[in-house]
Symmetry: C2
Subunit: 708 residues, 2 copies
Amino acid sequence: MTAPQPSLHPLFYPRSVAVIGASSDPKKISGRTLRNLISYGYAGTVHAVNSRHPEVQGRAAVASLRDVPGPVDMAAIVVPAAAVPAAVRDCADKGVKSVVIFSAGFAEVDAAGRAAQAGIAALAREAGMRVVGPNCMGAFNVRTSMFCTFSSSFDHGMPQPGRIGIVSQSGAFGAHCFVGTRERGLGLSLWVTTGNECDVDFAECLEFLVQDPDTDVILGYMEGCRDKDKLVRALEAATAARKPVVMLKVGRSELGARAAASHTASLVGSDAVYTALFRRHGVFRARGISDLIDIGYACTAGKFPTQGKLGLVSISGGVGVLMADEAADAGLDVPTLPQAAQDELKRIIPYAAVSNPVDTTAQVLNRIELIGENLRIMLQAGGCDSVVMFLSTVGMNPVMMENLGGVLHRVRERFPDTLVVITTLMHRELVKPLEESGYLLIEDPSRAIEVVAALVSYGRHFARGGRRPAPPALPAGLPPLPATAPGEHEAKRILAAAGIPVAPERLARSPEQAGQAGAALGFPVAMKIHSRDIRHKSEVGGVLLNVGSREEAEAGYRALLERVRKAAPAAALDGVLVAPMIRDGVETILGVHRDEVFGPVVMFGLGGIFVEVLKDVTVRVAPFSVEEAREMIREVQGFPLLDGARGRPRCDVEALAQALARLSVYAAAQGDRLDSIDVNPFLVLPAGQGGCAVDALIVPRGRAAGPD
Amino acid sequence: MTAPQPSLHPLFYPRSVAVIGASSDPKKISGRTLRNLISYGYAGTVHAVNSRHPEVQGRAAVASLRDVPGPVDMAAIVVPAAAVPAAVRDCADKGVKSVVIFSAGFAEVDAAGRAAQAGIAALAREAGMRVVGPNCMGAFNVRTSMFCTFSSSFDHGMPQPGRIGIVSQSGAFGAHCFVGTRERGLGLSLWVTTGNECDVDFAECLEFLVQDPDTDVILGYMEGCRDKDKLVRALEAATAARKPVVMLKVGRSELGARAAASHTASLVGSDAVYTALFRRHGVFRARGISDLIDIGYACTAGKFPTQGKLGLVSISGGVGVLMADEAADAGLDVPTLPQAAQDELKRIIPYAAVSNPVDTTAQVLNRIELIGENLRIMLQAGGCDSVVMFLSTVGMNPVMMENLGGVLHRVRERFPDTLVVITTLMHRELVKPLEESGYLLIEDPSRAIEVVAALVSYGRHFARGGRRPAPPALPAGLPPLPATAPGEHEAKRILAAAGIPVAPERLARSPEQAGQAGAALGFPVAMKIHSRDIRHKSEVGGVLLNVGSREEAEAGYRALLERVRKAAPAAALDGVLVAPMIRDGVETILGVHRDEVFGPVVMFGLGGIFVEVLKDVTVRVAPFSVEEAREMIREVQGFPLLDGARGRPRCDVEALAQALARLSVYAAAQGDRLDSIDVNPFLVLPAGQGGCAVDALIVPRGRAAGPD
């Protein structure tokens, strides 16, 4: 599996396509596929393969693929599931480069289907042939008019060429999304649906689209990912190429995830991990189909502001307020305009409110050139790097739109790179010239603000580019992960070696050692029973706090052992941990768990009610940098508690970020051998004083991991 | 002001309209208003009043209103601001019943404008004449073709008659909203914009629309409300009439509220209070314009489910998952279908996933009658009281839509009352027959789910109807509210008289009394200094906890006085409060503050980080019932802490709800005399043990309140 896979080029740019199972009835899948390939101007060669009829849809058919003269770049298989393996073998024999299997009845159905599908994949791999599907809807290339799909949606209109590519794991969703973009007036480059993904998967198609020179923006639909590394590689390539990826990932809710699992054979990983991965790679996660298409449309303008200084202009004061509300929710900055800009605005529109939002009132519609002047001032003296203008119903008025087109075209020439969204009810054909000048036209003002927020998030991500800091280095000489869960003391020793600060402590194995440890660490101390058989020490009376002297420590040792022996007679007791009492810290929880798809995932949250009641946690796939750890820390609702809320001192967030990043590096290095780590609590001390793990549990995966 | 105001009937149903300042230029406001009145079939009499021209737009004009023969029901004033007062006087002299003032330049500009506006209002009141505006866009009645507005939006299409009414404080927004509904294919009944509201306000128009037999659904746009009682009366009337009100209230954010204040002369009250009021009265609060119009559209079907048992059907499994995600977010129940329903579904569509969401796959499109069968099963054996069906692009296919129309019409005849939303990309004219059968058609599946959630919330509100429980009765013999803030002990005595449980305590004025109080209450006790000059007792060393004996209490008394005298020498000390130590409670905060518009508002939150860090609070306008207090308690994020989270006992939520409701009744009874109440903490004890106010502060409004 380490040899590079053959390219997907023949899938999207085939010179010849054979339809295996082509039929004459264009109402059937088998007939529609052939019809779509021959009806819309595809310049390559199309071969119909039909074992029973020498003529199909008015063209000669061959009985078998081997009868096709010359090479075949791509084959579409539309025979019943039972006949698919033989057809795939024919393709391999013929030296076909890519195969699309539409037929359903494989891994999505039962174990036999899974086996048949695996057989197809093996055969393809052996033959160096790429397979899309089974149970998919194929692919198309709008520029070459290569429509290798049984979709019937061309009946109501063809896709126009454009710079948006679509990858969908679901065929029906892919078809819907193509019609949605078409009806929105958006042009497409490449389109592919991956179905059961026996070979070619979502990530690989995504990466192909990123590399495709005709594609600038990619819309993705996914239910689950199988190969994290491929997905990450594709997303990194998108960042490098500054191509925005907009993703609709379903299965957010428990019910949704259950339904997704029954719908495809995908492994649906924990949804929060996808959110974290998308955030890391600058992917906008769409909430629904309209969202997906609107953000995709917005990206086609290619303007990605980095500052997020938003100017709002409205001919209705009320809608100005509405947009300001929405901007506040979206975290955009709507700065009061500089006085000079306000003065200039007042000069040209004396009756306007000029702070920001600017309320021009509808009177500007009588002198449309004022709208252009207003915009120029916002961009120049106003210093906005994005502007949203609400023009109500101007987009339905041909005369006004003609005037406005000229006025705004001139502004655009002076400020070619700034994002300007015009929001108006419109007739699409009237606003085309504005779109061609690089303006975005969006009907709903709230949506316009959401769109700006998305473009700013892309802008910031692209500005960081590939310069994302590296995770910290793994310290040398780390002890190997034990085969079974180590005790608390040992677990902390391992974490300390991994660079995560732990509370100073000693393991005492006698009352005398306890007294000595206390004296060495300095009283008062905390004492707790040490046993790998006991998870909840206080529940068995295994903890003593504020132990003040050597004598108390010695007595405490005896008392602890006695209490715990009574409460948990079966537990093996290793002794007692002695540690200094630490106050003034904020309790946090650092955790690692293993995700089936994404491997070790690091969780962060504040202790107590934040995790237990509010589920206020955030996650990231390991490993990650200190910078990303800082982002995580700021994501939780309880962050103000670390930042000096309620008159407390600010905490050492930097030390916490270092600990999180190092934990992620350690976890990633253990890979599949690790089941979980719990650092609970990790105490964050006041700024400059660091922090430390007070309790820790490391659980290796044991047997389940198998040989590495 | 107690005499009932004359009806708004002449505003919406005038038999004659005079345009004062009518001009010949239909590009001007003065010309357009006349043109709109005479061009679209209004059967009433229209008079042009122009002091300089005897003919305007081809019809004879009179020089003055007094020259108009016969009565005038309504006058539209379109003269410059300076000439408006004289025009209003003319109207009064003529006995005009309603006046619409379009002219701007009044309260929204400066103090002189405010004064002029107040003069107009006084004149109108005296004359028994109703005034809309100034600074508004007028009103229209689609059925009678009475278009008394200067909107130019009729240029691109007239509103169709229908059953949606629109009330907007903003003229520009009102015009935009009318075009938005028109483009969405929705019909209107009445439309009015209220502008500066010198006389007729939003609430009054809302109430008129509620009473209007041609209006079923009301869309409202508001920036602020001046008269809470009128608004509440209108909303109660809407509930009684089962007419859904959909409201877009702007000024959610701080920035938005600031912008709104500069935009109109409205008092923008605290936004959360509006949310609370809307929730109480079953008003759906739209987030934006699309939301407003989509929910308005959905309401026109008149189907308001009460159970929220949602069935999902999709020809794309992926979209089924997407809808399930959205339903989970919206709090809708997507129950697994009963086995009988699943069996029946499997029988007719063997390849379908039949649990819920039902995934029929796109194959059903080849046998469209299966879609009808599927729906019938969902409604019958499935027990769903609402269904959303995703049909991708079927709505663009004339042949399929024709078949589907027949199939679904038959299902509708059997289940006339159930809410069914079809989601598909569509050509509007193709789906008309389905809409006429009572189906809702919505393009975006996520939006379809949001719409169902809104309709369910109306359904539940209407089902409760007028049967909302009353607030508790105010106990008899309440002590009067003191003129200045009472001390803590007195404040608690007042609250106790109002029916709010307070912690048992005694005010000791000597060491001996402190010892006796402790003995009477039972040791250990808490002791705190009592002084109306000291707000933060612990900061001056004014609190002692766990005082264990009579001797300790006596010494404690002396120690407290000594410490506090040193820390706050100027404070008058009344003695020391002695109270039993209470453990095991959850700290909550009950507060009352006075909202400029809504009067006393009650706030509830959990103590500590919940209020201080997370701002996790909820509010209601006082007074309210125990039932509504229960709702409030469940609204805060921290509710699980009261409900037994983290292994704690469940708290006495019922006692808390009683306390909140009684506090609201007490606060409402004090009205404008009260500035604020803080009960912090109110300790909620384990279930069955009640709760009690541990500290309390009551602040009367003092001088500011004035004579009552």
